[in-house]
Amino acid sequence: MEGLRSRTWIAILGFTIGIIFVVPNFIDISRLSWWPSTRLNYGLDIQGGLHLVMGVDVEGVIATSVVRQTLVLKSEFEKEKISIKDFNTTKAKEGQFTVNVNSLDDAKKIEVYMQKSYATTLQVLSINSTIVELKYFDANMFEQKQNVIRQAIETIRNRIDEFGVAEPSITQQGADRILVQLPGMADAEKAKQLINTTAKLDFMVVSYEKSPEELRRLIAEAEKAGPYSLATLKYTEYVMRLNQDLAGKLPAKSLIYFEKNENAKSMEAGSMPYLLKTDTDLTGDFLDNATVSFGQYGEPEVSLRFNPIGANKFAELTGSHINEQMAVVLDKVVKTAPKINSKIPNGQAVITLGSSTNRETQLNEAKLIATALRAGSLPATLEQLEERRVGPSLGKDALDKAKTASFISSLLVILFMMIYYKNMGFISSIGLLINILSIFALLGSLGATLTLPGIAGMALTVGFAVDANVLINERIKEELLKGASLKSAIQEGYSKAMSAIIDSNITVSATALILLYFGTGPVRGFAVTLLVGIVTTLFANVFVSKVIVDNLVYRFGFQKLSV
């Protein structure tokens, strides 16, 4: 038989790879570093948890930013000696506003000024003797909107750290939504409350009255006396308790907040304490905007712009703390603590990043800092659009039941095949078992999420996979009836059944693909298992079963195989 040897090896290889990928789901193989450790995850509907879809009021933030822009322009026009009447911001939500002017001359001056100073951000839509229409460029609007979503995600992520959820997932969904998935989250009310609170941004001066060693020693003492640690308490509670306990030991008007170490996954895994002075009253309310910009050598940095009151406060603060560090604190977490080089009088500051790291990490850091700053200065309102909460007991019950049901149904299918198709049915059943193994292996290697509908999809795949074998076996029967030899009946049976097998798999995969595209959450799990099932069916129930049959007939010289 041509190519039988190589086909046999391919089948064995596929089977072995399947086993390798399935094992991590049942046995702890963490000691073997070379063994692939990706495993099948359970969806929220099985392991229990909280699924939230939050709508972000992007337009509201754009409107605020337009209003702030007009205030900046107003003072700039004064400096440029361009006289204007006032601004009209009724279309602020679309990033558009008009300047009411007295003469065409002023309007033209504005146009020239915009081209000079705002060439990349604002475009002049039209001018006449009374009105100048201005709008953000589309690219700029898009960037701003993306920023709003990004900062909302950053704010939520900041708070989720509180709970020590094992694998939180916070992702953008569509243009203005955020999907928050918290597996195993029990206190849903608390989580929702935290997510919905507005972010609080503070600028605080770092105190040097205690050395870092002293600070760590004090913290360790307090933790020991408690006893408590970041592992046992939520971050905000921990920080509150710690500062309470250290009240007498720390200098007056100062407290300890932490920065998450670079590369640390959570605060618990690595945190750096800062002693901060509480007597600076500069909050996110005074900050107009923060963006990533580039220095004279193209190095990424963060530009800050304070509003007029903020600018005065900032000038005072920087003037009196030259050569000290100023911490940017978002929701009690230190995001960065740059050194103040000089007094900054005009409310426009730049945070430069150290030159030790490469440009890529610098850019990411700059983005992160700018996002944190904006989160506190331009907080977006969140609206809860969808909530799905599954208690842990329900998920476990459902999983057990679905497992039992799938087990019974698979057993019935296998029994039927063995009784009805005898020898060939036995081979089909082996194919089916390899199929089930392959589904687990493939889903596991993809790190896919197994949902309840996904389990249904898996069981149905088993019921449906034997279709290929039924088609083949019926064909073989037919050929035998015509008086063909066993060898040619098998050959013909497989090759003639192929077109129907391909057809039926294409139709199911077409619907599964459409489901994958339009579906969300658990339904996607269903579609994924259907799709994976089609691939594994072609491998196990068609390819492998043929290899087995051919080996029996050609290598081991079987003269008969009942069907």
Partner: protein, 338 residues
């Protein structure tokens, strides 16, 4: 067991035994059952069933679940027996608007359901649905603390998300049918197209009607089940079509009635066995799995049942009708070359 056995067994089952009522000189028969003979009877039954389903669906309306309608669903379980009336009374004292309470599964498990009020803005509805959860949870722990209450599941879908899910659902159904129509037209002759689509429509509509009849709701997973059902059912139809195409040029001179009968008979055991295995699987899931899996399985079990019937009695005969309507030699040639 030997080859001889196989032949014997099949003889016993009469799969290929001549029961030829045709007075053809050719001894070859189309097989055991004359499907084409009863075409008008079964075709009529199908038409009546589809019409009845459509009327039922349009009169009673599709009972959308909160996925599509928007609302809040809270599943609670008690350790001690609680009557549905007790629970309803206690929730009604909260005065949160219209509330539905129904028992769920076995034991002391209930679903409390709120639907967003008409006329309220999206924002108001979202906020209301959100507060409902907290209020109900407080009330439950306060009133039924002694009965061991547990909130097992909460689903809240706001009006925007609901409308979007609905739109996506309909788009999915639409694209699904479109892709199928295109695929069948490319893969087979045009005359197969209407049969396939009519078949799917038949299956989907009847399944939906039966689903409503037993008092179930349509949520996203059910829609997904109906879509994959369309995939499964189509596959049945296509296998028969494939056989028709193959049989077509062997028995070209015997007419389409013979070809269709012969093809369906040839594929009958395959159709019944595959449908049977999927049906049994779905039935097991329906009986033992519970919850959403059970609902998906019910839709598939019902659908497979009608899908099998329709690929025999709806799809293939429609080809006959198409063939009678259009007897141009071109279509026959094209089909036999296809």
């Amino acid at each position: 067991m030997s080859n001889k056995n196989i032949i014997n067994k099949n003889k016993n089952k009469n799969i290929n035994v001549n029961v030829n009522k045709n007075t053809d000189t050719d001894t070859e028969s189309f097989g055991r059952f004359d499907f084409v003979k009863n075409i008008s009877l079964f075709g009529g039954i199908s038409v009546v069933m589809v019409l009845a389903s459509l009327i039922f669906l349009s009169v009673k309306g599709i009972n959308y679940g909160i996925d599509f309608k928007g609302g809040t669903e809270i599943q609670v379980k008690f350790n001690d027996p609680i009557t549905i009336k007790q629970l309803r009374n206690s929730v009604e004292t909260l005065q949160l608007g219209e509330v539905g309470v129904q028992s769920f599964g076995e034991g002391n498990e209930f679903i409390i359901r709120f639907i967003g009020e008409k006329g309220a803005s999206d924002k108001e509805t979202n906020e209301k649905l959100n507060t409902v959860i907290t209020r109900v949870k407080e009330k439950m722990t306060e009133t039924f603390a002694a009965s061991g209450v547990e909130i097992r599941r909460v689903d809240t879908v706001g009006p925007q998300v609901g409308a979007e899910l609905k739109r996506n659902g309909f788009l999915a159904v639409f694209y699904c049918l479109l892709v199928i129509l295109i695929y069948v037209s490319i893969r087979f002759d045009y005359k197969f197209g209407p049969g396939a689509v009519a078949c799917l429509f038949h299956d989907a509509v009847i399944t939906l009607a039966i689903f409503m009849l037993v008092g179930k709701e349509v949520n996203v997973p059910i829609l997904a089940a109906i879509l994959s059902l369309i995939g499964f059912s189509l596959n049945d139809t296509i296998v028969v079509f494939d056989r028709i195409r193959e049989t077509e040029h062997i028995y070209k001179n015997k007419g389409y009635g013979f070809i269709i009968n012969r093809s369906i008979n040839d594929m009958l055991s395959r159709t019944l066995i595959t449908s049977g295995t999927v049906f049994v699987t779905a039935l097991c899931l329906y009986l033992f799995a519970g919850g959403v899996v059970s609902d998906i399985a019910l839709a598939i079990a019902v659908g497979i049942f009608f899908g099998t019937y329709s690929s025999i009695y709806v799809a293939a005969p429609l080809i006959l009708v198409m063939e009678k309507l259009n007897l141009s030699p071109r279509s026959v040639n094209k089909a036999s070359l296809g």
